[in-house]
Symmetry: C2
Subunit: 215 residues, 2 copies
């Protein structure tokens, strides 16, 4: 059995590896970065440190996702409780957007999480894994059901498409904003809070848009 001191060291090492991996994956993409490069960036003399602490690269990606999940999940659950089964589409869209933007705001600058997620979602296997992980959360299930109740007229494929679009907009607008904040370049909105307002406005319009039948 590990002594308490050793345990702490192990946790610290894990944290250092997670932070290094998140940054490298955000900058270069998940496929472009080897476990060895992560170990090196985390200052681990042993090139197998990532494997030892996390297993496969997929396990490492999931560990990074799960490092952020509780904070986002907590905000989401609180927001859902606050809107009390609302029949306003805007309320449900806010539950989808704000937990992420508030989490990013709370992390302080620079953050890597938004770009990390943008990179993960370009890998077909990892994307499905991360989406499945997100959808499995009870609060996300409530939001999906809430959105579905608001949009009874949309055919299944349009609903699926707009869910994809909503995810893409949230992921890539946050990633682009995160990148601009770090580079010191211009952003359309001054704060994450205002960026969230812009996203919610736009997504409400997107979800409510009439659809053109194609069949």
């Amino acid at each position: 059995m590990a002594s308490p001191r050793k345990q702490t060291h192990g946790n610290e090492t894990r944290e250092v590896i997670l932070a290094a991996a998140e940054r490298l994956f955000a900058e270069h993409g998940v496929a472009a970065v080897s476990n060895r490069q992560v170990s090196e960036a985390a200052g681990q003399a042993n090139n197998f440190a990532v494997g030892y602490h996390f297993g496969t690269k997929t396990d490492l990606v999931l560990a990074i996702v799960r490092r952020h999940a509780p904070s986002i999940e907590q905000r989401r659950a609180a927001m859902i409780a606050a809107i009390k089964g609302s029949s306003e589409l805007r309320d449900w869209v806010s539950c989808l957007v704000q937990p992420t933007t508030e989490h990013l705001a709370a992390l302080g600058s620079p953050t890597w999480y938004a770009r990390f997620i943008a990179q993960v979602t370009t890998d077909p296997t990892l994307r499905q894994l991360v989406i499945d992980e997100a959808i499995a959360s009870a609060s996300m299930q409530e939001i999906i059901q809430g959105l579905d109740r608001m949009m009874p007229v949309l055919p299944a494929e349009v609903r699926e498409e707009r869910a994809d679009m909503g995810r893409q907009l949230i992921v890539h607008m946050c990633a682009e904003r995160e990148r601009a904040l770090q580079a010191g370049t211009a952003t359309p909105r001054a704060t994450w809070e205002e960026a969230a307002v812009g996203l919610v406005d736009a997504l409400v319009g997107l979800w409510q848009a009439p659809f053109t039948p194609t069949k």
Copy 2:
């Protein structure tokens, strides 16, 4: 002066290099791929083939963009001529979406262009370059002015934000669809034509959405 035969060989080499670069950049990101790797993938014995034919990596990226630009530009000009200064937002949004989706459909499968553009737009310098290049086209200027005429009430920062969102949605929905087509995984829409209808519907809703003042 090069003989006609040699000239043809030079053009063929350029084409082979452009195709190899587009694919590598699409798969791995622009920053992750060296000119040397492109030369190798293009089957060039000389590792400096890219430098010799294209100059810097930025020149190479621009050359790939310009390989697709005339086909897209031509479609855009024809669509703008057809809508004759329309006062329907949908017409202008269609001019923004369809030239790209039609170009992708015409290329046949697999294509790399959508993922290439998605990768390029995550690099702050290259993104600006590609956006400047696109905006410089006369037909794109007409669309921007057309959209502006339709949206007189939006404050400048909201207009800028929705232009960003529109670009992100077109770029990333096309990239995700292109990826899914190659991987043989499910897509919400059966054809590029139907995917364009879905994008136009959604973007019209996004642009028309009421905005919440934040100041």
